[in-house]
C-alpha cells in the first residue's frame, strides 16, 4: 500500500463511518435544529470521505466507491470511537462529537502541512467546512459541561479516542457494514 493510502485511508474510514453514525439521528434528533445539524454534518463527513478516497483511488487505480464499499469489514481502519452506535443517547453522541472534532482538527492541521500538494489542498478545504462542526460541538460542550451524564460520557469515550487499535472491529461495525454495503453487494456496479 502506498504512503498516501496508509495516511489517508484511516481518516477517510473515520469520516465515512462517523457520517453514517451521525445520519442515524436524521428524523429523530431531540429537536428540529439538531435534526438539520446532524444531517448536514453527516453529509459533510461523507463528502470528506469521498474526496479522501478519491485521492487514494487516483494512485491505486481504483474508484472512491470501491474503496468505500467493496472492501471486507476487516480492511477498514476506522477508530473504535466512530464505530459505536449511540442513538438514542444524546449525551454520549455529543461527547463523541466534541472529542472527535477536537482530535480531527489537529489531524487536519497536520495534513495541511503535507508535502503532497493535493493532500494539503484538500485538507485546507476540509478545514473550512470542519470549522462549522467545531463551532457546533463547542456550543454543545459549553451547554452540557456541568451535566453529570455528559461528563461521564466524555470520561467513558476518551480512551477510545486515544486508542490507535484500528484493526479490531466491534460487532456494531459489522452491522453497519452490512447495511452500508448492501446495495453494492446486491447489484454489482450499482451507482446512484
Amino acid at each position: 500500500m502506498s504512503e498516501r493510502a496508509q495516511l489517508l485511508l484511516p481518516i477517510a474510514d473515520d469520516e465515512l463511518v462517523l457520517g453514517w453514525r451521525n445520519s442515524e439521528w436524521t428524523g429523530i434528533a431531540p429537536f428540529l435544529e439538531e435534526d438539520v445539524a446532524f444531517s448536514s454534518i453527516a453529509q459533510n463527513e461523507i463528502g470528506h470521505a469521498r474526496a479522501l478516497y478519491q485521492l487514494v483511488a487516483d494512485e491505486l487505480g481504483t474508484t472512491a466507491d470501491e474503496l468505500a464499499f467493496d472492501r471486507s469489514p476487516e480492511e477498514y481502519r476506522c477508530s473504535r470511537l466512530v464505530q459505536l452506535r449511540l442513538v438514542p443517547d444524546w449525551a454520549r453522541t455529543i461527547a463523541r462529537h466534541y472529542l472527535y472534532e477536537t482530535a480531527d482538527a489537529r489531524r487536519v492541521d497536520e495534513l495541511k502541512a503535507s508535502d503532497d500538494p493535493e493532500v494539503a489542498g484538500l485538507a485546507a478545504k476540509i478545514d473550512r467546512e470542519e470549522a462549522y462542526h467545531r463551532m457546533h460541538a463547542q456550543m454543545w460542550f459549553d451547554r452540557l459541561r456541568d451535566e453529570p451524564r455528559f461528563v461521564e460520557a466524555v470520561e467513558e469515550l476518551q480512551p477510545l479516542l486515544a486508542s490507535e487499535e484500528r484493526e479490531e472491529h466491534t460487532p456494531e461495525f459489522a452491522e453497519l457494514w452490512e447495511e452500508m454495503t448492501m446495495v453494492r453487494r446486491s447489484v454489482v456496479g450499482a451507482t446512484w
Binding site: A37, S40, H48, A51, L55, G121, A124, K125
Partner: protein
C-alpha cells in the same frame, strides 16, 4: 470554438439547488481551455459533500456537447473556491431571492461569536438586527438566521 463561447455557454447553466444564479456567477468554474475541438473545464465544488456536484459536472458536459465540443470536466478538490468567488451580480441575485450573501472570507476560519453578532443583514428589510438560529440549514452551504426587525427567518450563505 473560443474560450469566450465556452464561458458564455456555461453562464447559461443555473445552479441546481439555487437556480436564480448560474454556475459562472457562483464561481465554481475555475478555468477553461480550448484546443482542437476539445474543451477542458476545471471545476471546484462548493462543499465536498454537495449532492449537486455530479449534476453540475454532467450539465456542463452536456452543454458543451450540444455545442459540438468534446468536453472534459475536471473536479479540483482544493481550497480555491470560497464564497468570495460568487460574483457581484450573483450576490445581488441571491439577496433578491431571499438568501443573504456570504460575508467575505477572512484569513482565519470564522468563529461562533462572529456568527452570533448582528452584523448580518436581513435580505428582506436590510436590518442588521438579526440572530443566528442554526449554524446548519437545508444545504451544507447555508445557515439559518432570524430577523428581529421584520420577524422573518432567512437563509445565510456560510463563508468558506
Amino acid at each position: 470554438m473560443t474560450e469566450a463561447q465556452v464561458w458564455e455557454a456555461l453562464a447559461e447553466i443555473p445552479d441546481p439547488e439555487i437556480p436564480v444564479i448560474s454556475l459562472v456567477e457562483l464561481g465554481v468554474v475555475r478555468d477553461v481551455e480550448v484546443e482542437d475541438g476539445r474543451v477542458r473545464v476545471a471545476f471546484t465544488p462548493t462543499f465536498l459533500g454537495c449532492p449537486a456536484l455530479e449534476v453540475m459536472r454532467d450539465q456542463m458536459a452536456a452543454k458543451l456537447r450540444e455545442l459540438g465540443a468534446e468536453p472534459e470536466v475536471i473536479v479540483i478538490s482544493d481550497d480555491s473556491w470560497s464564497t468570495d468567488r460568487i460574483t457581484a451580480e450573483g450576490r445581488e441575485k441571491l439577496r433578491a431571492a431571499g438568501f443573504a450573501p456570504p460575508a467575505p472570507r477572512e484569513a482565519g476560519v470564522p468563529k461562533l461569536v462572529q456568527l452570533q453578532t448582528g452584523s448580518f443583514r436581513c435580505p428582506y428589510c436590510g436590518s442588521t438586527d438579526t440572530a443566528l438560529d442554526n449554524i446548519f440549514g437545508p444545504t451544507p452551504c447555508r445557515s439559518l438566521r432570524y430577523c428581529r426587525s421584520c420577524r422573518q427567518p432567512f437563509e445565510q450563505f456560510k463563508t468558506i
